[in-house]
């Protein structure tokens, strides 16, 4: 069967799996940002923790994703459902770029700007919200962008532990030695990664422009 016909014939399953994939990526990214940005802010206040937290994150990145999924299986509650497990693993992977960019973005604020802000009587909270986060925002978004693209790719592996998503097609296609089936997973995943990259790139650029 030619590829377009195959896609038409399987459009319902493709939509369902794309939806699952989006959900895995979306929830993981929300968690990664919710944890990673505060963690990066914490590091900017206590640089002593830098090596520990970024080091742990780096080690996390070196664990092959398939192995990480397997390692997390025995964890209670998390291991009980494949999607929870996948989301935890994806969140851990996405964390490093978000934490690191939040930290470097804040650390990159010019010293005189920070000094003037403190000298004029901004409270630590005002310094963070009015100066540091706005000036770091495009670097932070760049981190989120990198993390999202990685997560879209890694999330295909989640199908190996039964968490669904576009990886279902890929693994099935590999087993059946059927390129059409593989592409039914790979093409939407690639498009998803490209669109995420494009959209977050637009946001990033708009931040650069308003902040000169």
């Amino acid at each position: 069967m030619p590829l377009p016909d195959f896609f038409v014939a399987h459009k319902h399953e493709m939509l369902t799996l794309t939806g699952e994939h989006l959900w895995l990526v979306g929830v993981s990214m929300v968690l990664a940002v919710a944890i990673g940005v505060p963690l990066g802010i914490f590091l900017s206040r206590r640089p002593g923790w830098n090596s520990l937290i970024l080091g742990a994150n780096n080690i996390m990145q070196t664990i092959p994703s398939l192995a990480l999924f397997g390692l997390l299986l025995p964890v209670p509650w998390i291991g009980a459902r494949a999607d929870r497990l996948a989301i935890l693993a994806l969140t851990l992977y996405a964390l490093l770029p978000v934490v690191r960019n939040t930290y470097t973005g804040i650390a990159g604020v010019d010293a005189p700007v920070r000094e003037a802000a403190i000298g004029m009587g901004l409270t630590p909270r005002q310094l963070l919200w009015q100066v540091e986060l706005p000036l770091a925002s495009n670097v932070i978004v760049a981190g989120i962008r990198t993390a999202t693209v990685i997560t879209v790719g890694v999330a295909t592996i989640a199908a190996a532990i039964g968490a669904g998503g576009l990886g279902e097609f890929i693994f099935r296609g590999l087993a059946m030695v059927d390129n059409n089936v593989i592409l039914a997973g790979a093409i939407p995943a690639a498009l998803m990664a490209l669109s995420a990259d494009f959209l977050l790139g637009l946001i990033q650029r708009s931040l650069v422009r308003t902040h000169h």
């Binding site: 010019d110 005189p112 920070r114 004029m120 901004l122």
Partner: protein, 257 residues
């Protein structure tokens, strides 16, 4: 300040050690009179910036007391203390994501002035530093020259009408011509304000030009406090190198004429 003590700022036996060991300032006693411009003159590393930062508690002394308006800086709420004191630094430290107007309005907004008062004040101080509101208010710092940025920095420091203004080599990074212009404007500005100014510089000519008095610093100590005329006549050993440097430039000017 109506219950005003004679000195706007007073250092009493102040010592500052970094991390508790290396001494940057030792046994400093200094009184800054209300309304005067006091120049802290010294070479790099002499402790003049450290001294300045002890006033708005960007640094906290290890020993002794710093009094602002008669009250120890440790008794002030530190945020109130800083908002009560204008602060202008060499690189200006303007917020790059704020327009000129928003930069200047910063402290009045933090202090919750009403919008009409803020807007009137921004116009007023921009005018004071020679930047027409209509031309400059909506620009961003990266659309300004170095001299203009420094003027905005000064306008921002003056915006909340502080009784005290701290200036840390504010004109140090400017080219000589812009520098001379802005120094001249600052002298005019001083006449219209009653602000007490503490001004850090390593430039003798600037100290002589702008200061009502000059406190000469060396190795974390004050070597003496002089009116500009006294400074030039002083036989003091620590003053001589400055006078010689100053005379050298004068000499070049004289021989060229």
């Amino acid at each position: 300040m109506n219950d005003s003590p004679a000195a706007a700022i007073e250092f009493v036996d102040v010592t500052y050690r970094i991390n508790g060991n290396r001494t940057l300032i030792s046994d400093l006693n200094l009184s800054v009179r209300r309304g005067e411009t006091l120049m802290l003159l010294g070479r790099s590393g002499s402790g003049k910036t450290t001294t300045l930062k002890l006033i708005n508690r960007l640094l906290a002394q290890s020993e002794g007391k710093v009094l602002v308006d008669g009250r120890s800086t440790t008794e002030w709420d530190v945020i109130q203390l800083r908002r009560h004191i204008g602060y202008a630094i060499q690189e200006a430290g303007l917020f790059p994501h704020y327009t000129v107007e928003d930069n200047v309005a910063l402290v009045p907004r933090l202090e919750r002035w009403d919008a009409a008062r803020i807007s009137a004040r921004v116009r007023e101080v921009l005018h004071l530093v020679g930047l027409p509101y209509d031309e400059f208010a909506q620009r961003y710092p990266d659309e300004l020259s170095g001299g203009q940025r420094q003027r905005v920095g000064l306008a921002r420091a003056l915006a909340a009408d502080p009784q005290i203004l701290l200036m840390d080599e504010p004109f140090g990074a400017l080219d000589p011509i812009t520098r001379a212009e802005i120094q001249h404007e600052f002298m005019q500005l001083k006449k219209t304000l009653q602000t007490t100014v503490v001004f850090v510089t390593h430039d003798v000519a600037e100290a002589l030009l702008l200061g009502d008095r000059i406190a000469l610093m060396d190795s974390g100590k004050i070597k003496g406090v002089f009116a500009p005329a006294e400074f030039l006549r002083s036989p003091d050993d620590s003053v001589q190198p400055y006078i010689n440097a100053f005379r050298a430039t004068q000499h070049i000017l004289d021989s060229g004429a």
